[in-house]
Structure formats: C-alpha cells, structure tokens
Symmetry: D2
C-alpha cells in the first residue's frame, strides 16, 4: 500500500474545519431543550471557559455511496485541544489519566503517568489515524523550533481515538499531516463547535449520531471560583442504555436502530468515548488522576456500562501553576487541598454528563460509507420523553 494513493484520494477532501462556528451557536444546546442538568456552567458552557485553552477542529467529509477503501466516503477528522494555547509546547501542564475500559488508544500516557505532566496538545481522531496524527504533532513542534533549538529532545504526543468505520473509510487513511497542522494552527478560544466536527465527525453514540461535545461548571467563590471544563468525543453506548437526566430516553426512543444489516454501533456497545477534563484549580498530578476517574461517573449517568469494545479513556489537566515544569532549581507550586476537591468532583461528573448530551444534541443526521445512515437525536421526541417523566425544565428564561 503506497502513500501516493492516499494523497490522490485526499485531493478531493473538503475541509470544513471551524466553518460551522457561526451557525453552530444558533442551534439550541442540551440545556436549552429543558434538560435539568445540575450545577452552574461557565459563560460558554465549554472547555474554553478555562482561560488559555484553545480548541481546533479539522473536519474531513467527501464522497457518498459505496465504500471504496482509499477513496471514500470520508467522514472523519482531527480535534486539537491546546491547554495553554500557543504556549502549549513551551509550558507543560500537570495531568493525570484513567482508563475505564482500555479498548482504545491514547498515546503518550506512560509519560503523563511518570512525569505528572502533559507536554503538548491533546489530539483526537479516528482509530486508524492515530499514527499519522502523532508524528505530525512532532513535525509541528519541530517546525516551531521545538523540541529544543538543538533538535535534541524528543516528543511523546498525546493522541486518542474512537472508531468511525461505520460511516467513514477508516482503512483509507484519509487524515494527513496537513489536517493535523490545520487543527493545531486553527485552534482558538471561544465557543467550540460540537457534533459532526473534527475527530467526532463520523461518530455514533447510543445509536444516535454522536461526535464532539463540551460543557463546563463554575464553582462558587466559597469553593474557590474554579472552573471545570470537559470535552468529549462520544462514540459509545447502545440505544436502550441511554439515560438523560435519569430518564430512560433510550428505551423510549427506538427510532433508527435498524438501518443496516451490519448495524454495528446502532445495536451494539462497540464504541468508545474519549474525555478531556480541564480545570484552572491548582491540582497537581496525582489529584488530576482523581479528576480523570470521576469522568467515569459522568459516563455512567448517561447509561453506559462501558462495554468490552469500548475505549473509554480519560485525561485531566490543570492550567494552574505555569512554569511548573521548568528543569532547573526548584519550582514553587500552589496546590488545592484534597479536602477541597469534592466540588471539583461534582463539577467533573456533571460537566461530563452534559458534554455527552451536548454531543448528541449538536450532531446531525449523517449518511456515510455504504449509505449507512445514523439519525440525530430527535429533539421533539426527547422533550416529550422528559415531560412524560416530569423532568422537562422550563428554560424560557434562557
């Protein structure tokens, strides 16, 4: 298999990255529908509520109809999360990770575990493009004069994935280094496009169209006023498991689970969820592992039992303590006591739950490889079900 054929195939790829931003915010998000989430979100209800964090998506969509490996249809992409924006490669952040079910890949985790630091961006893509994204992150750092001026030190990028082979020509390897550079260079603060964008483009969640979702929680001043932000690439769950705000939505809305004889993600729990938890609370490495572990509880609230085929891998970082990773002298740190972490745990669980539902609400019906079709979560039906269980909040004030 030659790289040349991939390059040829990619010539027709349409780049949609960030293009949805303008319209994306017009759509209602999950809480706008009246879902009674707990806790208080930040201004954007997004991981970018934390100062300095930038997110970029490259969305790759092309072709229709019958799957031809190396040609398409293509429904995939790359998402980049930069903990400190343009300073990401120069100023590592404390981090920790957790694997709820390890049927997936997140590169770079042994060094996160060992060092306590995350030294670059977090990238999310499809399962079979982890490698190209990883090496491209190194190339991007080298282009920026990094690893270091002598070119001496190495990079161990963080790249995670979920599998989009139901809608995407995953074995066509359509993600190229340029897509990675684009996601990194285009990353920015502000509202984050959700749904069928970036790494989440071709994903399926609880048998509905899934993808990227984000949410945040802001603690009150008594608890430090810190923010927790979550971003998910949601590609997991079986329809009848889905709960929203405790309501058994998945058993109530059964539409669209039989569109294909293969069916795969529409009927089985074969997907994955990658979760990025960020905070500006001054947590150090071992505390961030604790935060990462709480993402599992947010996933559970939506109904999943973390199936065997699921790569449910979570990473958490803190933007506090700039320059904590300097290599000489000693470093002065600020740490939040363990005894003060409970509000952060609650915030993580709540924001994870909402980010997943945001992904479901933002994603739109998509038809991809072999005409596989995955429907969006029907919002009117959702409201009906919430109402049936007396859980539809009045959001007219929003």
């Amino acid at each position: 298999m030659a790289r040349h054929s991939f390059l040829a195939a990619s010539a027709i790829i349409t780049i949609l990255a960030l293009a949805q931003l303008g319209t994306g915010q017009i759509k209602p998000r999950a809480r706008d529908l009246g879902i009674p989430f707990e806790g208080t979100p930040g201004a954007l209800n997004s991981i970018t509520d934390i100062k300095g964090i930038e997110v970029g998506h490259t969305t790759i969509i092309s072709g229709e109809g019958k799957l031809q490996v190396g040609v398409g249809p293509v429904r995939t992409g790359v998402t980049a999360i930069l903990p400190r924006g343009k300073q990401t490669s120069n100023d590592p952040v404390f981090a920790g990770w957790f694997s709820l079910n390890g049927n997936g890949e997140m590169t770079g985790t042994t060094w996160v575990e060992e060092s306590g630091f995350l030294e670059g961006p977090i990238m999310i893509t499809n399962t079979h493009s982890v490698g190209v994204v990883r090496d491209a992150v190194i190339a991007w750092r080298v282009k920026q004069g990094r690893p270091d001026p002598s070119g001496y030190w190495w990079s161990l990028p963080i790249v995670a994935e979920t599998y989009d082979g139901f809608l995407n020509d995953v074995n066509g390897f359509h993600v190229k280094p340029d897509h990675v550079f684009q996601a990194l260079d285009g990353a920015k603060a502000g509202p984050v496009p959700e749904g069928n964008v970036g790494g989440g483009t071709g994903m399926v969640c609880y048998g509905f169209k899934g993808g990227i979702g984000t949410a945040s929680r802001k603690l009150d001043q008594n608890n430090g006023g810190y923010t927790v932000g979550v971003l998910v690439q949601a590609n997991f769950g079986r329809r009848n498991q889905l709960r929203i705000a405790g309501v058994p939505v998945g058993t109530e809305i059964t539409e669209g689970t039989r569109s294909s004889s293969l069916a795969g993600p529409l009927n089985e729990d074969v997907g994955s969820v990658i979760i990025v938890v960020a905070t500006d609370a001054p947590l150090i490495a071992h505390q961030l592992k604790r935060l990462a572990r709480r993402a599992a509880l947010g996933v559970a609230r939506t109904g999943s039992t973390s199936g065997d085929g699921s790569g449910d891998i979570f990473v958490a970082f803190s933007t506090a303590n700039p320059e904590a990773a300097k290599t000489t002298g000693t470093v002065q740190l600020t740490m939040l006591p363990n005894d003060r972490m409970n509000p952060l745990f609650e915030a993580t669980v709540q924001a994870t739950e909402e980010a997943i539902v945001n992904a479901l609400v933002a994603a739109e019906t998509m038809t991809g490889a072999d005409n596989h079709k995955v429907i969006a979560l029907p919002q009117d039906r959702l409201k009906e079900v919430l109402k049936k269980y007396n859980r539809l909040a009045d959001r007219s004030e929003r």
Copy 2:
C-alpha cells in the same frame, strides 16, 4: 490503653448475629416497593444466588446515650463472605480489585493483584477494627489446621471497612476475635440479612440509615446463564445526591438531615462503600478487575460523585475454576471470552445499584452514640417521589 478494658467492656455486648434473618425477609425489599430496576435477578436476589457462597454477620449493639470511649454506645459488627463456604481456605478463587477512591482500607489487595487469587474469606467491619479482624482470620485458619499442617505458610486476609463513628464508639475497639469467629462459623447460604447487620450495623448512606445490601442478576442462557451477585456495605453519599432509578430522590426527601450540630455523614460526603462482586462465570484474574471497575458505574447511578473522604473499594471474584490455585503441575482452566463479558458488565452495574438501594430499604432508624439519630429511608415518601416522576412500577404481581 490496655486490652483488658476492652474485654471488660465486651462483657455486656449483645450478639445479634443472624437473629434478624427470620424477620428480615418479611420486610419488602427495594423492588417490592415498585422501583423499576433493570435486568433479571436470581432466585434470592442475593450474592448467595451463586452456589457455594456463604455470608455471616455478627452484629454488636449495646448501650445508649452519651459516648464513653471503651464503653459505648456500640453499633458495629463484622460481615464475612466465604467464596466457597467451608472450602474457602482450601481452594482460592480468581479475583481482582479496584479502588474508585482510596480513602479506606482493604487489606490483602497487593497479593490479589499479584497472584490473581483471593485465598480466604472477605471480611467487612468498621475502620478501627480492621486489624483485630485480620489477625483473627489468621487465627481461625490456624485453628482449622491452616495455613498448612506444618504451620509454615502465611496468610494475607482481605479485610475492608467503612467508618461508623457517628453512631458507634469506634475508638472503643469493641470488635473482638470471637466476633470474627462467629461471623465465619455462622456463615451460610440462603437469604442474606440486610440493613443494620454485621459490618453495616452503624452505617449511614445518603443521609439515611445504610448498611448491608445485596442483589443479583441472572443472565439468560444465550449469555451463558451465569449469575452475578453483589454485596455492599453502604456508608456513603450526601442526601441531595441520591438518585433512585434516575429519580432525584435526595432533593425531594430532605427529612432528617439536621439531627445534630456535628451532622457529619448527614450533610457531607464523608463515608465509604465496600462492594463485593461475585460470579460463577469463568472469569480469570484480569477479567475480574474489569468487573470490579464496573461497580463504580453502579455507584454512580445512585448519585454519588465519590467524595474525597470516601473509601470506595471493590473486589470481584469468580467461583468457577475450582482448584485453579493448586501449586504443582499445570492447571486446566475455563475462560469466558472478553467478547462475551458485556452482559456481565451490565449485570454488575445493575446489581450494584440495586444492592445499594436494598441496603437503604432494609436499614431501620437507629439512635447511637451521643444520641445521634439516623432515620430510615421513608418508604411511603419514596413511592410518592417515584410516582411524581412516573417511575413507580406496578409490583402487585410480586
């Protein structure tokens, strides 16, 4: 502090172990109230639905009124789970464990992790009695001619705990070796007393009286017909977190959260939950870690975010593969493929959720040290709340 005073104090202890069995089963259990749990329970809806498993409780209750350390009031006990009944010490079971939040103790876990086996009973008691229980388990094995005839090999018992200091004179060290022997020797198959019994005697859960709970799930024959049983010692959660069947019960039922200026477990998330997951499915060590991890998702369904002060530690074992731990030759094993574990994951999550609610439903209002009073979950109020959210199932057939 001399042991003598403990012995004197213990002279007045009333042993209630197993005495509640007769009446215990007359009370309705959680699903009898119309809570719409998912999945199909085993015959007893108990960890003892798995053949060979025996459970024994020693319940220690004495004294009333003002706390006098070393005297009382005493509200504590010991629970013993024997994976293979009387053969427990002779025939280890495959096992794995997981710590969701490690603010607690479960002795013996490094050897479970290393060897893949659980070599004796699992004991649960209060935080400050782990030591006496541990050494007493060794003494019990020695009395039975174990570790081995020469007395040469060692024991590394599994003893876990939650903290009952709100109701119990925990610093009085009222658990004695005889209580341990009694729980072990009295262990048996059949219905398991729940609520204020054994290690769970003085526990508090979501601001209601907690304690021991159990539940099970039976897979259909397509999935192997295996059983998963769960036993919990529930002493965790803050009232307003409590969800039952997805319904926000804790925010609806606010009674009894201010009975004391200290309040502690009535208002804060300071407790713990120990969960024992058992199955007869032929899982080997690393697969049982996967099962143990799923208990976290069951906890999450009841609303907890696993607070900093919580020791949420779970152990899973399989009664399949008898004699797997023989020490010579090679061993023939049966293993269930990973690809067939999803029904076991669901069963674990579901049975964990129900076992916790069973503990809440079985426990009765208790007044203990310094007249601290913890009320039982009011069953009529619970039904009202379930009805308000259209989640009250018709259980008239039961």
Copy 3:
C-alpha cells in the same frame, strides 16, 4: 482462641528494644569491612540522617527449643519509623509506594496512592501481627488526642510485614499493643540499631540471619545537597543468589544452608523485603512513586529475582513541604524538577543495596523455634571472597 492466653504468654516476654544501641555501633558495618559501595553516605549512614525522622524498635525474644504455639520460642518485634518525629500524626508527608512482588501486606496504601500523603508512622512487624499493630497505632493516635478532638475522623495506618515463622512462634500472636506503643514512644533520632531488632528480629536473608538495616546517601551541593535514607526489613533471597558489590558471595559461602530438614528460607526464596525510602528533597507524590520503584533496582543488585513468595513492597516519603496537607485555603509547595531526580534515583539504588548488606552484617546468629538455627554472614569469609574478586576496598582510614 481467647486473648487471655496471649496476655498470659506475653508475661514472660523479655523486652530488648533499643538495648543494643550502645553496643550496636561498636560493631563494624558493611562498609567498614571494605565493601566498595558507590556514593557518599550521610553522617550516620542511616535513614535518620534526614532531620526529623525517628526510629523505634521493640524486640521480643523469649523461650527456646520446641515450638509450642502461644508459648514460644518468640523471636519477633515491631519497628516504627516516624517521618516527622512527634509531629508525625499532625503533619502528613508526601508519599508514594510500589509493589515489586505483592506476596505481602502493607496496609494503608490505597490512601497513600489516592491522597499522595502518608498520614502517620510506618510500622513493620511479622506477617501475623499486622492487625494488632494497625489497631494499636490508631489507639496510640487516639490517646494523643488524635484523630481529632471530637474523635470524628479515621486513621488508615501503614503497617508492613515479613514472615518470621522459621524462628518465631508466628501463630502465637506475641506482639501486643503495648509493644507497639513502646516502639512509637521510644522512637528517636540518631543511630539506628540494625540486625536482630524490632520487626527484623527473626528474619532470614539469603540464607543468613537478616533483619533491619539502614543506609543513606548525601548529594553534593550541585545536586541540592539532599539526603536519601533507606531502612529495610530484609527477609528474602536464596543463598546462591547473593551478590555483594557485584561479587557472587552466595555461591562462594555455602555454609549453614542445611541446618534443618524443613529448611524453608535457608534454601528457598520464600521471604520478603520491606523498604522505606526517605528524603528531604522536595518531591511530591507522583515523584515519590518513582523513588519507591528504584528500590527494586537496589534489591536486584544484591542478587534477588523477587521470588513468587516474596512480599517486596516499598514506600517512599519526603519530609520537605511541612504543612502540605492542611485542609483549607491553598498550599504553597516546593517541587524538585523531574529533570533533577537522577541523583536521587542513584542514591536510592545505592542506599537500598547498602542497607540490605548492613542488615546482613549487623545480624547475629540466632536459634529459635524448634531449634532452627540461622547463621550470621561470616565476616572473615566475606572479606576473603571480596579479595578473591579484587573488590576488597582499603578501609583502614575509617
């Protein structure tokens, strides 16, 4: 089995704790024999070179001849390491742990892992006395007005063990709470008695008499001038594995490996080693796990391959950052960069190696239960072997 019989038995126990101190320092230590260790030790070549650390031993020796369970012979004890001396219970230290081979017990590790802190002393005893020691540590804290004035919070003590059943009546449960209080109350700075003392009293190492050993390394000022101290309870290894300074001492000195038909630790790798690594370098929790892991490399230098029966469990802590565990506000910390840890890694490996050899050199021939006899490492033979391999250093200057 009643506690009363234990108390009766203990009436004849002779307490030797700390009594050997005066003479202990007259004996040569390992480097005095001309073993060419690498690196520069601290003033005492002991864990107590780190300011604030106190060590106490209770040594329990009584009886001779045939083993009578509950009577003796008794060859056991308790060792206490207090990271901050009398402030140990009030001011936790950052800590991490590692299990090289988990056939042993170290209680309290789930909370060390979760919280990043060690909240009290580290205790080491025999395998079957872990429980009594654990509960006695809690009683000791309660006596001192701890956990807290209201008696509300719990303790999760760290107690580790190795198995002394070859020389000691381990199933007689001869360690009592008073022995624990004595080790704690008698702990002090200064030289640490080694060999047949405290928890190490009845231990066997590489088929020679083992026990307690300690050593330290002092970094030069370029590397921060920090100290690393190690204390071991050495009860591991098979004779022919023993290497000292790279020299195959165990295959050269074969004396004393056949004193008994049972033989056990004289011929097999059935023992364990507990290692405590301490430093005043400002390392935080995840960095101390790295240090703990390096103890394995020091063990390897002495020849062990960490046998299946060995409980090789290591804990590391830092006395830097006092008051890091306060529970309100935020905490200001100092951290050594990861990039500066290499000298600490080397120091840990070197001090571990020397502490093990110090245990062997300090321990004296002992006869215990059933007249089992374990010989001391013969120092003249050791020097001959070192000389044979051109590794005998000239230590006349010492």
Copy 4:
C-alpha cells in the same frame, strides 16, 4: 510539511535488512568472550528459541556528515517481533506490560492491560517514527484481509521506541510504511541479527554503541522445560554505571565518552530500553505482568538506575494457549501455577542481562549525524577488566 519531501529523501536510502545475518553469527557473542552468565541458554540463545516467534529488521542507513533535516544522515530502522509468525494477527497471545520509567512510548498497552492479550506484532523503531509504524501495521493487517472480512473491527498495534537523534536525522521522518511492511514480511525464525540493525540501528548504550540484543534461557525438565527469550532495543545508561557480571566495567573503560561537545548519550543517562520477554510457559495475563516486571531486575544488574529521561518499558507474552482469544463459547486454558514461576523469574532476569550485553558486544562503531561517533565496546579491554576482577570464564570449549 509535505509527505512528498520525505518520499524524495527516502529514494537514496539503502536497505540493509537482514543482510548482516550471514556475518552476524560469525562474530562472537557476549558469552563467547568469557562473561560468566548464569543459567542455561536455548539453542540459539535468542528469543527465536521459542517456537513460532519470528523477528524481522529493516535497517535504514544513508548519508554522512552534517545533519540536514529531511536528508540525513540516516541511521535508523524498524524491528518486528511476531509472536506466532504468520499467524500473529489471527491468534492473539496472552500478554502483560510494565513501565519502569515511562519517558517513552509503547502504543497499544491500554488494551493489553484491559484484555490480557497482545493481538498483533510488536514493533520497535525510533521515537519520532512510532506513528508511521503504527498506522502501517494496520495497513498491513488490512492488506492481509484483517481486521476482519467486513473491514469492521479496529486494530491497536503495539509500537515502542527509543531515541536515536544523536546519530540519526530523527526529525527527518525517514521511516516509511514500506520499511514496516518489509520488517513484517521478512520476519523469520532462526538466529536474530544483533547490534546496529532494525530499530536498534542508531542506538547508544552506556556510552557505547548499542542496539538490538537477544538471549534465552531453557529451564530443566523438573521446571517444565520451558524457554524464556528476551529481545532488547538498548539505548540507555551512563558509561560509569555499566556493570557486566557484577564487574564495574564502566568505570574501568572510559574511552570514547567525550567525542562531542553535545555528548548527550555519551555522558548522560538520557536513553531508553525496550524489552520484549517471551515464553512458551503457559502463563496467563496477570502472570505475564509479573514476568515483565522482572526485566527491570535484569536491567539493574547491568548498572542502570533508570534515569528520568529513560523510557524503560517492557512487554511479556506467552505463545502457549493457542486460540485463547476466540470470541465465542468458552476457552480451555492451561496455566502454570504461580508457585512454579520462580525459575521463569530467574530466567527473565538472566536473559535480560545477557541480551543487553549481547547488544553491546554485537554493535559496531558508528559515525552518524554531524559526525557524531559512538565506539563499540572494545572486546579486548572487556576481557582484561573481567580478568582483573577474576570473572573471566574459560570458554575455550565453545
């Protein structure tokens, strides 16, 4: 950065894969020099002593002189280890892994940890080529009709690395998919080329030229007659740390440590070591983690203290239990008791030690990027030093 420039650059790459085999076996290996290793090797003293294992190398060498990123000099490659040869992708093996110091990458480990299985080949390359190798392994499986006929399931390949940037244009990304296919397709049983080959081409170890090394141990029939094989990619250690057979070789042979102002790996402990442990003993997943952990003890015997910059990551697998990963019904397994693992632990430590020294002995002096020169371990000097310490064995019989 375009892939095209890489393709242009690669046009001049000389492929040397496997070409050294004929001559490679003429050179003496470490034990031929009289180093007194312990234990009994297999017929080839190689990982390929285990039936079914195949190893392939692609060695990429081109250019000389000044480093031009994207042009060269190139001194790198890829090594492939196929646990079951051509059946590797169809029949997973039980596996476990361990990170001694996680400053490195080994992709695919979360699924090894979760599933207990290794589902494809193990690949080793340079740090910045992990991505291209990973995706190429997927492409190779797809070409072979895998993942499965429908193209539905995903792959999570194992790719590990060490850093060759001292000799190689690591930021030129010279490893291409074809190199990966070549290593995989060319893999075979029989003697394994060592030293400057495959992934080890540009590596440095203890300041000498390093690279690929292998060794094995064969247990006697009493211990089951099993074989343990080890393959290392050795790129770690500081010269003065090096010990061979316990002899301080590194402090005795100081030549060649100052060839460059940059110096890097010649003076500092900045490298890494990847270790693959294989056995035909019937070990299951959790037991293989134990084996992987023992590789650390073998590393320690050569003197390393596992520096901060080192990615010391180990994976172990067993070729026993074919078809253990089938996905339906139940699986019948054979397991070796834990109590019988000690000989395997010793074999692992011994074979790891010898494989590292084999890498040093096989590697030849190399000059690479910017004329950096790394000398081979001088064999005459090595023999002199062994003799000085009375450790030179008579190998005239070989």
